[in-house]
Amino acid sequence: MKEKKTFQDYKYLVVEDQKDARAMCRNLLAELGVTQVFECPNGREALTFVDAAVELVDIIICDWNMPEMSGMDFLKQLRTVYPDMPFLMVTGRNDMDSVIEAKGYGVNAYIAKPYSSTQLEAKLRVVAHRMQE
């Protein structure tokens, strides 16, 4: 029987414009046992990265509010080429309307700032679980 992958076994791309927030996310992921993490400062670079090396990305963790290209615009463009790429949206908008809007664009899970490692783990487990369904 094929061994089930856990969320720690996947490769992650973190898209976040704020350096500190990016570092925090990387630390939390390390704390959770995730070892393969790549980073991009905005949506445009993330698109280039995915285009160039999609095999290095299993799951994308992306901030919503970013200059140049917002997380939502990045997602819309990503979906035209990779309709099934797992996507975890991070944002400060913690209300049901935003959740519904995000899910409408094919976000696989949604996490509100500020978040803890436990919350991040819960969301990553949901995304990983969905990938194996």
Binding site: D95, M96, D97, P114, S116, Q119, A122, R125, V126, H129
Partner: protein
């Protein structure tokens, strides 16, 4: 010739002469009688009749004819001729119009020497009115002329009345057609209530043609309304035949429009329904304006709120900054650093809670009313209201009764309370004191002056906000709900707060009153009808008898990896009225909660599960949904895991398997309604066992 023959002939001749003479006398008498009879009839006739002979000379006429043709009365020796008559008639003829035509039919071309019809008019001196007469001339076989004159004054007046009414009807119809208000009139005498009138405005708003509506029952309007509930109300009012005032939604060219519908009925003299009139007035613009005003006011309270929240935020930031600085010291023992980080995390969480509340308040959304337990709703607002008050004001909650339900939206009630609390705070700015928010039940037996009649017979809930401030002077007390009325200094308030409260209270079918006197504080009371429908979630039973208790509408997330046991518990919980989300393991439970958009009221989880165990799941739930209580279950000895003792979170509830169903129910009750469970009633878990579960959970270790 024989003399006797001559005598005989003479005798017969005489006899014949006498016979003829006698016959002549008889016939003459008969003729005279016929003539007399005819004259009598002529005089008795309701029409004027005049005969002219073949030379055009006047032969006979009746008295009635003199009324229409006065020269007849002065006639001597039948000297009046047919030509005189014609001349007189033409002098008095009146213009012929459509009304007369409808009355007597079209007139032939005038031709004085043959049959004709003409109308003459004259002023009747006796009655002082204008009279009209139809004159008809007919030639007889002997070239005589008979003139028949008929008084048509009454008929003509009647015809003009009919014409005037028709004209008025037309004018009214046109006027109703040009109004922007949709109007439908139906015949309430017929059981089908068919539409007998519809105006253009209605056809436009409903996008229906007149033909589609006329003669049809009210059901023909079904497709135009978006809101089936509103349509049901309309139907109910129509079938009950009473007046109604409704708000309905109609989508026109993909735009949602609001309409106010006023239904009124008119009864006949016996009191039976005659017609039903529905007037549709578009209120979309009004609604939009109201929404704009709502937003303006909301911004104002948001400003006030932000000031309060900023103060709280600074406190939180001080805590974070303080502990972070202290934590940076190089010689700090690791245990202490851990404690500092805990404090920092706690403060950050508090801050996140505050921003969530702020965002929930600033978001404008159209929410449909739901039935809420008012006590829960108000308790929920407490955290948001507290930061608004300065240190000199203490917020007291006076919840005298739980379980009182009202139909409202949480958003509306939140704004009402926010405004009343800000108002009370400002009133106590100088003095400080207690600000009390409370609720109590009001039965119809309470005599509350000033309540609308419709509310007097209803069971009500009173929500009050009481302050110990400066109170309201009697001369301004009746103005406080007016828009832009304020006693505050310029720049300190727009005066919209209380008027918005007034509007919102009306919107949820309530009534607001204030009890105040200058210098004696103020108590604002909002009376709302108690909802007879239970709230979406309700605990039935009082906690005394656990076997009967039901948790209607509460959602439980059940994580249990043993299939049989999961199924059994699902059945048990569903039998108690709960909505169960059954999860195969921890990860599955995480998935279910991620997709479930409603509130999860309880997590019931096994501890030992593959993939993600119950304890870690509980931890995650505590972070993801902090309001969801957790009950743990374990097949291992109390507080024990597979490899011995496990660390349970502080205050965690752990149930030992096999489960006792009454104990489970009691723990669920405690978790859903903390503080309301009778502490004396405790189930001995070691003796009362859940026998059904015992067998199924036998292999579970």
């Amino acid at each position: 010739m024989d003399i006797s023959l001559v005598l005989l002939l003479n005798f017969f001749t005489m006899l014949l002469l006498v016979g003829f003479g006698l016959c002549g006398c008889y016939y003459r008498r008969q003729a005279a009688e016929i003539t007399k009879m005819l004259s009598g009839s002529l005089e008795a006739s309701g029409q004027g009749i005049v005969f002219f002979d073949n030379k055009g000379c006047l032969q006979r006429y009746n008295d009635y004819a003199c009324r229409f043709f006065p020269p007849l009365a002065d006639v001597q020796d039948n000297r009046l001729t047919y030509d005189d008559f014609i001349n007189h008639m033409f002098d008095h003829s009146v213009p012929f119009d459509s009304v007369m035509e409808s009355l007597i039919g079209a007139l032939p071309q005038r031709a004085p020497d043959s049959s004709f019809r003409e109308i003459i008019g004259w002023h009747d001196e006796q009655t002082g009115t204008q009279k009209y007469c139809l004159v008809e001339a007919q030639r007889t076989r002997h070239r005589r002329t008979v003139i028949i004159m008929t008084d048509i004054s009454a008929g003509r007046a009647g015809a003009y009345d009919v014409e005037r009414l028709a004209d008025m009807n037309q004018t009214l119809s046109e006027a109703i057609d040009t109004t922007a208000t949709g109007i439908i009139i139906s015949n309430a005498r017929s059981p089908l209530n068919p539409v007998i009138f519809v105006n253009n405005a209605f056809c436009d708003l409903a996008a229906m043609s007149r033909e589609e509506v006329m003669g049809e029952g009210w059901s023909c309007l079904e497709d135009i309304f978006d809101d089936t509930q509103g349509l049901e109300l309309l139907h109910a009012a129509i079938s009950a035949g009473h007046a109604a005032d409704l708000e309905l939604q109609i989508t026109k060219k993909s735009e949602t429009c609001w309409f106010n519908i006023k239904l009124s009925n008119m009864n006949d003299a016996c009191g039976a329904p005659k017609i039903l009139v529905a007037v549709f007035t578009e209120t979309t613009e009004f609604k939009n304006r109201e929404a704009r005003m709502f937003n303006v006011q909301k911004l104002e309270s948001l400003g006030q709120l932000s000031a309060g929240v900023a103060h709280d935020f600074n406190n939180i930031l001080s805590i974070i900054y303080g502990f972070a600085s202290a934590g940076c010291k190089p010689d700090l023992p690791p245990e202490r650093a851990g404690k500092y980080f805990e404090r920092i995390a706690k403060a950050a969480k508090r801050g996140a809670g505050l921003t969530n509340k702020l965002m929930a308040f600033s978001r404008h959304k159209q929410v449909t009313s739901e039935v809420y337990d008012i006590a829960e709703l108000i308790a929920d607002q407490e955290t948001l209201l507290r930061p608004l008050l300065g240190p000199s004001i203490s917020l007291q909650m006076d919840i005298r009764e739980q379980g009182l339900c009202v139909k409202t939206t949480s958003d509306t009630l939140s704004q009402i309370l926010m405004n009343l609390v800000i108002n009370a705070r400002d009133a106590m700015e100088d003095t400080g004191g207690d600000l009390t928010i409370g609720i109590n039940r009001v039965d119809s037996t309470y005599d509350i002056g000033g309540l609308p009649d419709a509310m007097k017979e209803q069971k009500l809930v009173r929500v009050f906000v009481k302050d110990q401030g400066c109170g309201i002077a009697p001369d301004v007390a009746d103005k406080i709900f007016d828009p832009f009325f304020t006693t505050k200094e310029t720049g300190k308030g727009t005066g919209l707060g209380l008027s918005v409260v007034y509007g919102l209270v009306n919107e949820i079918g309530g009534h607001i009153m204030v009890d105040t006197a200058a210098g004696k504080g103020a108590c604002f009371s909002i009376y709302m009808p108690q909802s007879s429908a239970p709230p979406g979630k309700i605990i039935k039973g009082n906690g005394q008898d656990l076997s009967d208790i039901r948790f209607e509408g509460y959602t439980v997330l059940l994580a249990e990896d043993e299939d049989d046991l999961r199924e059994l518990m699902t059945n048990l919980l569903e039998d108690r009225g709960m909505i169960v989300l059954p999860a195969r393991d921890g990860n599955d439970a995480l998935m279910l909660q991620e997709d479930y958009e409603e509130k999860i009221d309880l997590l019931l989880t096994d501890i030992a599960m593959p993939g993600l165990d119950g304890l870690r799941l509980g931890e995650m739930m505590h972070e993801l949904r902090p309001d969801t209580p957790v009950i743990y279950m374990s097949g291992y000895p109390s507080k024990g895991g597979v490899n011995g003792a496990i660390d349970m979170p502080q205050g965690a509830v752990l149930l030992a398997k096999p489960l006792d169903d009454l104990q489970l129910v009691q723990e669920i009750h405690k978790a859903l309604k903390p503080g309301q469970v009778n502490a004396d009633y405790e189930v001995d878990a070691s003796t009362a066992r859940w026998t059904a579960g015992q067998q199924n959970s036998e292999g579970k270790r």
